[in-house]
Symmetry: C2
Amino acid sequence: MKLLEEKILNEGKVYDGDVLKVDGFLNHRVDVEFLNLCGKEFYGIFAGDGVNKVLTVEASGIGIACLTAQYFHCPVVFAKKSKSANQSADVWQSCAHSYTHGTDNTITVAKEYLGKEDKVLMIDDFLASGNAFNALADICRQAGATILGAGAVIEKTYQGGYEALTKQGIRVESLARIASMSKEDGIKFC
Amino acid sequence: MKLLEEKILNEGKVYDGDVLKVDGFLNHRVDVEFLNLCGKEFYGIFAGDGVNKVLTVEASGIGIACLTAQYFHCPVVFAKKSKSANQSADVWQSCAHSYTHGTDNTITVAKEYLGKEDKVLMIDDFLASGNAFNALADICRQAGATILGAGAVIEKTYQGGYEALTKQGIRVESLARIASMSKEDGIKFC
């Protein structure tokens, strides 16, 4: 998505530790009108597949997930992060490692909100190593839901997330695919 | 908002500890089409006031904030919750007590995303004691931003939040105002 690549080049900042800061439009300040265009783009990609639920993880995924779901006329379910790994009869749960924060999070979805009847589009702000999407996919399988695909606004293609998901048979679509980035050489797209 | 009251009566569940569970449409599963109507309602109330930023707190506020901001054609900023209370030169921060979780959260907003030029509508899913809105208002004052109002989807009118905010001169508008609730007698609106 050309407009998104331009926005990343104009507004994104590369930090040590392979961190791309795009919190001016994606995950702190949310450029709602721009993310609406991203949502429409996801709709263009997955329309016709029968998506009836958009699944994401709190907190950064919620904005783009809600804006995207509007086009599909379907609800969003956002998985909750919890420090405790207590097993509960009422939730599907899985473990996601956070690349940014270096922590393991148990994520949970109430069983009543995800089931066999659901055709799920997973949406998140970033795809890097794929840990968040992996955990969401795990939860979908527990629920017996159909996984139609994973949509990320920005993908770091060199961190293995695409491979980790596609080898499970999951369709992966990212709106901007970063091939490399560094403070010195800037951001290169695929 | 009559439709919202009906939805709360139909789908909400009252639990011990004065907890109203509406996570079937508001804060776990997000009924995007319905919350769009709520966003439009907020627009009807605050249109013409010059809102140029919608401010909320992660995570439950983000969905309704993004859907509302679409009508104002402005961005959302969501305050981040952090366990640490480390003072940073780069953020505005305040302390919010969570009624639901019984914890104190430091919430932060990057200084670059909130300033004197901002005319802020604060949006959240619930208004109870007003702690989250209080912290957001505190952050707005630190930033020199103008507070145009506080909009909550659901207000529990008997917990003092309305009074705590209006005595600071903040306009408070809630789409559904609960006068009382209990497992025995159900939910009564004002």
